[in-house]
Amino acid sequence: MADIQYQAPEDLAAASALLAGAGGKARILAGGTDLLVQMKFDVVEPTLLIDIKNIAETRTIAEEDGGFRVGAAVPGAELGEDAALAAAWPGVVEAAELIGSTQVQGRASLGGNLCNASPAADSVPAMIAAGAVARVIGPDGQRDVAVEDIATGPGKTSLASGEIVASIFLPKRPANSGDAYLRFIPRTEMDIAVVGVGISLSLDGDGVCTAARVGLGAVAPTALLVDAAADALIGSKLDEAAMDNLAAAVSAACSPIDDKRGTVEFRTDIAGVLARRVASIAFTRAGK
């Protein structure tokens, strides 16, 4: 365990410069709910911690183009307290609020959950379903990246040297839209997803699904966007046949491993079960 430097810059350019200059030995500190645990267990041994919580953009929720720009370090508890955000994207908010305990909720953030790149991250399938876009700031300026393209494997991201996720954009919703997220855990809380499913969908005036996105967590090396599952819903009123197709498409997309948290068979099976339930909740919300 080496000595650790701590920096808390007040703008993203400075944070990015520090990160780029550290040659891979720096870590971004948002809520720290994953990072501190990893440091304690020697999983990572950074020499520099760059706290981004003093940077205004990472700490604010702002309406933008009819959608919401959520700072990467906004804690879960604040997401739930933002009534407009919670009304527009209940699935994303409920996913973020499932992370950890009440205490952890005071720190844990969407940005951290995304960049930790755990396949089982709760908020990520919900953000994927929402069509969320991460704003990435780096030495060469800024770029917008679909959230499903951030993680490339367990603990690995597509971010280049010096790049930081500054915020996440949740787009404007058409009328009659709804989203939802459910995860399976053996307990009731304080656990990690064995499977997680996020679904966002829009209906026309007749209740026919016109658009859908399905995000799937903990069943592959990264959280997945499952187009075939969305296709099963689009054009339907989520009747039994559509639900069967959805469940089949979701299960087909699973490529999990047998591990201490669940078997291949169980995860594949439960993914389909959860997808039906999530679609049904999103459908109800869209109809309201």
Binding site: M1, R187, T188, F266, V273
Partner: protein
């Protein structure tokens, strides 16, 4: 919650505040890691990454050379202990095993087995030093499962271990340490008389006690002696172990027990304590060692995972004619699975004529098992109660009625020949049947389960001192770490005896040098045995106080009695003298012969067993296999609840631990024998939201061998839950479950395989 407190006593049976309560809820209480001494070093342990390997060499030179490292130890720094002559009793204390478990000697026997330790000026340096220790291992084949470990070609953990009873010179080394057996009557005859015989196999996984406080200690040493502060279930037993493992005189070591953040049996063995002392001796500075959670899971006491085969025969009317049980228990790296206790208890709620039980105590490449709340019994009871529930269904007899037909009563003799005194099992079953929970309606996918359990309890050695101050207040000194509210119970009994206010008795837990030997806080013995010592000490103090009153009144000792907190004239002198309170007598003590005190040193016997039965409702999500516990009621014969609040806490806690054991907890190993889930994220104990309020129904059938009727209460409540919860799941989904944990993937698969 109904207040079943009796009115016979002033303090006993009342909901008195805990003498240790405010300090514990405000954070002032000192737990194992809370002591800081000037110049204190941080001790850390290097542990084996292998399940089974020969240690070819250990090179500590680089670690020793690191600035800030003050001492490094390996097994070479501890005396080698010769193999003791067998056989061992049921409480195996083989100090050679203990020594090799504390620090591996020639081989490492499990993932997490200590191989070296360092003391350094900071945690950072200590951790760096561990990385500089070079251990050359020859990795050996390992074995995790006890059934595999019994096969002829299994890797052998101990080349010098033969199965007990075999000739050490000629027999082949074996992982099976012994095959204890007990019988009553003739099972063959019994099975022949049965109309229905059910034989089933069950498995359970190794589970950890899951105490919140990790093992922690601080040691100081000089040529004059050793001071040890640690979280333990028995400072006196720790002292003896440390003396043995370090080659020191027992009286040179003083052990002070910290407050204890849970033990459940797991803080009976010693782990880092002698290592910390040795490091402190070499460094000549105090050394603190605190385990991480990862270390707690990898290297301290889970209880045995088990394979259990149960066969029970019954007549059509429900009378059980014979019962047989075979247990194969993981001992871990060293012998000593709790098979004896399992044999003693598994069929003991019932009055049976013919019983045959035996078991295999099998070494495997896992941490050595430690006691866990009614050690050994829950796994066997899971099988017994499961078969009894199946028998009830097959015979068409209500599950409670079948147990009533066969219930143990006063005079029943169990398989070990123990004859019961008054026992409340029948009364409890009647109460269960009459309880609103028993016939409450169930919804769709909901099921109700029930099971019974029994634990034998321990007596043993205890000391106590009652010292009366000159203002009449009392210091009560006893020697058991307070895990479940024992200070409150001791103080209540002493206040009751002395006839003084409960709040005027201050209970203190002694270090090992200030009071005589007191055995462990274990076996649910403390309120029974140490409680008896406290009562006797109080009575001895009363005798002294009465003598003093007699002296002042100029009468004989026989003419004074102690009533309601006062010495009163009781002979021909009645009416001649005003009664004197303890405070009045104490104030005059300097003139009447000196301090007033009472002491007791006892070896308590006559402990009464406790029976319990649990009723639980669950709802199963058939599509996911998720189980929600909806309602839970514990029934138990508690003898007498000295402190009803803390008795209820024991019954609730046991039930919750059992629910975790039943539904989700398990040690998971990879194919290299490394523990995959050494943390609370993936070792799933129930969280608060997982369990409903656990309702408690106490039945009080006092134990006649204790002045207040105490039986002991803490262990019985972990015996029934596994079978009760599994039975509730069975009842909800209509399928049998015989392998713990009854986790969602197993339930889902069973439902799917059955076409659901």
């Amino acid at each position: 919650m109904p207040d079943e407190v009796n009115t016979e006593f002033k303090w006993v049976g009342k909901r008195n505040p805990r003498p240790d309560g405010v300090d514990k809820v405000t954070g002032r209480a000192k737990y194992g890691a809370d002591l800081y001494l000037p110049g204190m070093l941080v001790g850390k342990t290097l542990r084996s990454p292998h399940a089974h390997a020969r240690i070819k060499s250990i090179d500590t030179s680089k670690a020793k050379a690191l600035a800030g490292v003050k001492a490094v130890v390996t097994s070479a720094d501890f005396p080698a202990i010769p193999k003791p002559p067998g056989p061992h009793g049921p409480m195996i204390s083989d100090f050679r095993d203990n020594s090799m478990n504390m620090m591996a000697r020639d081989k490492v026997l499990y993932d997490g087995h200590p191989v070296a330790a360092v003391a350094a000026t900071s945690e950072k340096i200590a951790r760096q030093a561990l990385k500089l220790i070079e251990v050359d291992y020859e990795v050996l084949p390992h074995v995790i499962d006890p059934v595999e470990a019994m096969k002829p070609d299994a890797p052998i953990l101990h080349d010098d271990q033969v199965t007990e009873g075999e000739d050490e010179k000629t027999a082949k080394p074996s992982n099976v340490y012994r095959i204890p057996r007990a019988q009553k009557g003739d099972v063959e005859k019994g099975f022949a008389e049965a109309d229905l015989v059910i034989e089933r196999e069950f498995t359970t996984k190794a589970v950890h006690q899951g105490y919140i406080e990790p093992h922690a200690c601080v040691a100081q040493a000089s040529d004059d002696g050793v001071e040890l502060f640690c979280s333990t279930q028995g400072q006196y037993v720790d002292r003896g172990s440390c003396a043995k493992l370090l080659g020191l005189d027992i009286s040179k070591i003083r052990v002070t027990s910290s407050e204890i953040g849970g033990g459940f049996g797991g803080k009976i063995p010693i782990y880092s304590e002698p290592v910390a002392i040795r490091l402190a001796q070499l460094a000549r500075r105090p050394v603190k060692m605190v385990m991480s959670r990862d270390e707690v899971f990898r290297a301290t006491g889970p209880t045995s995972g088990a394979h259990v085969r149960i066969k029970i025969g019954a007549k059509k009317d429900g009378t059980i004619t014979a019962a047989e049980g075979e247990m194969t228990y993981q001992a871990g790296a060293f012998k000593g699975a709790s098979i004896g206790a399992a044999m003693n208890c598994m069929f003991s709620p019932y009055d049976l004529e013919n019983i045959h039980v035996w078991g295999y105590d099998v070494c495997v490449n896992r941490p050595k098992v430690a006691a866990y709340r009614a050690p050994g019994v829950p796994m066997a009871a899971f099988g017994v109660e499961g078969v009894i529930n199946e028998l009830a269904d097959e015979l068409g007899i209500d599950r409670v009625d079948l147990r009533l037909i066969n219930a143990a009563k006063e005079g029943t003799q169990n398989v070990m020949g123990m004859k019961y005194g008054p026992i409340g099992f029948q009364e409890m079953l009647e109460k269960m049947k009459a309880h609103p929970h028993y016939n409450a309606p169930l919804g769709e996918n909901q099921g109700r389960g029930l099971a019974a359990g029994y634990w034998l309890h321990a007596g043993g050695m205890s000391c106590a001192s009652v010292n009366v101050s000159d203002d009449g207040t009392v210091t009560l000194i006893e020697g058991n770490p307070d895990i479940g509210g024992s200070r409150a119970s001791m103080a209540a009994m002493v206040a009751e005896e002395l006839g003084i206010d409960y709040n005027k008795v201050r209970p203190i837990i002694s270090d090992t040098s200030s009071l005589g030997f007191t055995f462990l806080t274990a076996g649910s013995r403390v309120t029974f045995a140490t409680g008896m010592a406290c009562v006797l000490a109080a009575r001895n103090a009363i005798k002294v106080a009465c003598d003093r009153a007699a002296q002042m009144w100029g009468v004989s000792e026989e003419e004074v009695v102690w009533e309601d907190g006062h010495a009163r004239p009781a002979g021909a002198n009645v009416g001649d003298h005003e009664p004197m309170s303890l405070a009045e007598i104490a104030a005059k003590a300097p003139m009447t012969g000196g301090p007033i005190a009472g002491h007791a040193e006892i070896n308590a016997t006559g402990q009464g067993p406790a029976t319990g039965a649990h009723l639980v409702d669950v709802e199963v999500d058939r599509e996911s296999g998720h189980v929600k516990v909806l309602r839970y009621t514990v029934f138990q014969d508690v003898g007498r609840a000295i402190s009803p609040d803390y008795v209820e806490g024991q019954l609730q806690g046991g039930a919750v631990q059992g629910i975790g054991w039943a539904l989700n907890e398990e040690y998971i190993y990879d194919d290299k024998g490394r523990l995959e889930n050494p943390g609370f994220l993936d070792y799933r104990v129930p969280v608060a939201s997982d369990v409903p309020m656990i309702d408690v129904c106490m039945i009080e059938v006092p134990n006649p061998n204790h002045p207040y009727g105490v039986r002991g209460v803490g262990e019985t409540p972990i015996v029934p839950p596994q079978a009760a919860v599994a039975n509730a799941v069975e009842n909800a989904v209509g399928l049998r479950f015989r392998d713990l944990p009854v986790s969602p993937p197993k339930i889902r698969k069973a439902i799917k395989d059955a076409g659901g």
